[in-house]
Amino acid sequence: MATRLKEVDAVLVGVGLVGTMLGRELTKAGLKVVGLERGNAQFTVPDFQGPHMHDELRYSVRKAFMQDNTKEAMTFRNNVNQVALPIRRWESFLPGTGLGGAAVHWNGQTYRFQDDEFKIRSHTEQRYGKGFIDPELTVQDWGVTAADLEPYYDRFEYLLGTSGQAGNVKGQKIAGGNPFEDPRSRPYPTPPMKEPYGAAIFRKAAASLGYHPFPQPSSNLSQPYTNPEGLTLQACMFCGYCERYGCEHYAKSSPQTILLPVLLKDKNFTLRTQSQVLRINLAQDKKTATGVTYVDAAGHEFEQPAKLVILCSFALNNVRMMLLSGIGQPYDPKTGQGVVGRNYAYQTMSAVQVFFDESVNINPFMRSGANGTLIADFVGDNFDHGPHKFIGGAYFGELMTNGRPIEFHPTPPGTPAWGARWKEAVVRHYNHTSVLNVHGSSMASRNNYLDLDPTYKDAWDQPLLRITFDFPANDLRMSAYVTDKALAVGKAMGGRQVVGAGRKGPYTVTQYQTTHNTGGTVMGLDRKTSVVNRYLQSWDVPNLFVIGASNFPQNATYNPTDTVGALAYMAAEAIVNRYLKAPGQALVQA
């Protein structure tokens, strides 16, 4: 039997990046807030300290910071004709867990999405005509523009202290920055990171081919910075242990370094870790959330009543929580009806390896999570898609993040997988290889969606989330096209051998690609094709806000975190300035 606790003003489902941001904004507005985090409490000291943090086996290979899939796995299939089976070990993507969530172990790559990607359907139809978009794709406009989000991007980047070179401040182009970016209201809070060797070679090669290289925006900081919350971050040491690790140096922007110390001192905030939310509870009318039910570490069940529920866990878990709670109509791929789980998208990744002469010491271990050089010439609609049969694009650059050898020991094609020749090749190429990442958009398709698995259960006997996904043909064509361009730059870098190919289907969960899982609780202007309105408020349950990359109607070219942060600040402002003046009311009339 669940113990019923005292009602609070708001409850957060998940205390990662978004939960921490919403917790701060709502407590500042005077609300009593409870944050429920299923994982453990963890802090820079002592949890992320070296040398034990520099353990590739524990954190990269065994994935110590990730969701414990012995308790909560997911199932996967490529299409509805297959039987979905459990992802028994995480490989393709890595859902985080614990206080701070995935923002503890992210790489800090911090990009704004482009305006044309927020308006992908209307923009594409306007430029290329109505029939241009493959009918398989269910891409749609977001309901917000880059200009709408600019103040929130700005505020979020100044919270993080992001290091970068602006390319466009209030419409004025600035040399050395990204010439394709939409206007920003002011420069980045801190200057760009130092440029490592491989990135410098890429910059020269890309420029020689007429492209526009610029430094990767990084939330591992180039210099010390005190954010508007009064917290000070330090300069990145290029230790090479970012993604899948916590930062020992206070140099990576994560909830622990940018916000949590302030939030945890606030008497209005109560954090409960090791608290697994089972469902959002609804009143009889099904239009009002009454709070959540959760289980603590000892297995005791509690009901936490709340006037306002903020669902802010990882994108995939947001979708699952909506389905488990029976909120919104689940998507049905046969009819195209329903919204929860609809428009699940990912990212279309490929790579190019550049094998140099032995005289070129790349030093792959002197890196940070975001310290490369890239070009945006093939991002979104920055190039003419007229001759091509696809929409979307990819950025690429020399963006290496580490040289950790269990996972990084490149060998040229034709090298055996083991034995004397393999060993010889590893020794020969380890310090003399650069890798270009080709990071591509992922379009929503009517066949790709999320629902509850009919067979497999979690540790609390609730159905696992079922992922049905394969790469749309559109995205494979895009990947082939842009990867060819990356190969050409790789060749201009002067490698002895340059190899790479576009992404090939079918999608597999056995190979790491990225943890940019998006969609399923899509935002939009029409409740027939979205789960939340443009303020991320549930159409069905107005005192429920759902925030995260699950709001993306399809995935854009760039990495999602900056946009997630901007959306979180936008939603927080709408809650504080508008919703709280008329609680329980919809901010947008359906």
């Binding site: 606790l5 012995t70 056995t510």
Partner: protein
Amino acid sequence: MEKLTRRTFFKAAGATAAALTAKAHALTPDDARHGHGAAPAATGASAQAAYLYFRPDEARFVEAAVARLIPLDANGPGALEAGVPNYIDRQLGGAWGAGERLYRSGPWQPGLPGQGYQLPFTPAELFRNALRAINDDVQKRRNTTFDKLPGNEQDAYLESLQTGNQSLNGVPAHTFFESLLALTIEGFFADPIYGGNKDMASWKMIGFPGAYASFYHLVDQHGVLFTRAPMSMGEDNRRMIHIQPVAAQPKAVGPNPVVADKKKGGK
């Protein structure tokens, strides 16, 4: 060659590591001589530290196989000299071998390659089953054990596992091979604290600095040759560099705030 009945197999698969250690000690004088915690002398197979999980016949296969997967050569020690069999043994004898972070609920179906590992075996069970089948197979065909075969024949046998789909007591041969190779590479490159990569041999060989982690002043010295000796997590902590003073820790989070809440009249 030890003959295992079905009953003894299941008993062994579920037995504690301690019991298996005792058995290993009893059966291999070489192992017993080195004992717990003693660093293995780098003189070859007979000088491995005591095994927690492997039985003698299993250990002989693994020692011989990893020496073919990553051989000793002019570049430096191979997997055997680096202690990789001990690394694999500790992994299989510990939490990971028992299925840590492996979702283990059925029903079990083979699935498609893109759906990943779908066998009911824990890593420890997978190795025990496959190694028993391999020993039986080599015995039957060649009337000897894998470790006694000449190197080129060992390679050919490993290739047959790598590309084969034959059932090794329920484990597809290529699945076992992939596990063995993955563990061998892990043990070769992981921090020596896990029992392989003895003396950081692999890190020295490729020029990886290990747990050492501060390159702010070097990252823009393009092409610089980094020659500092690598560092292991297991080395003296006093050599650890803290870049800035330790900041005040945020308010501690009580493990059981819910109870406090209840006392306030939450019931």
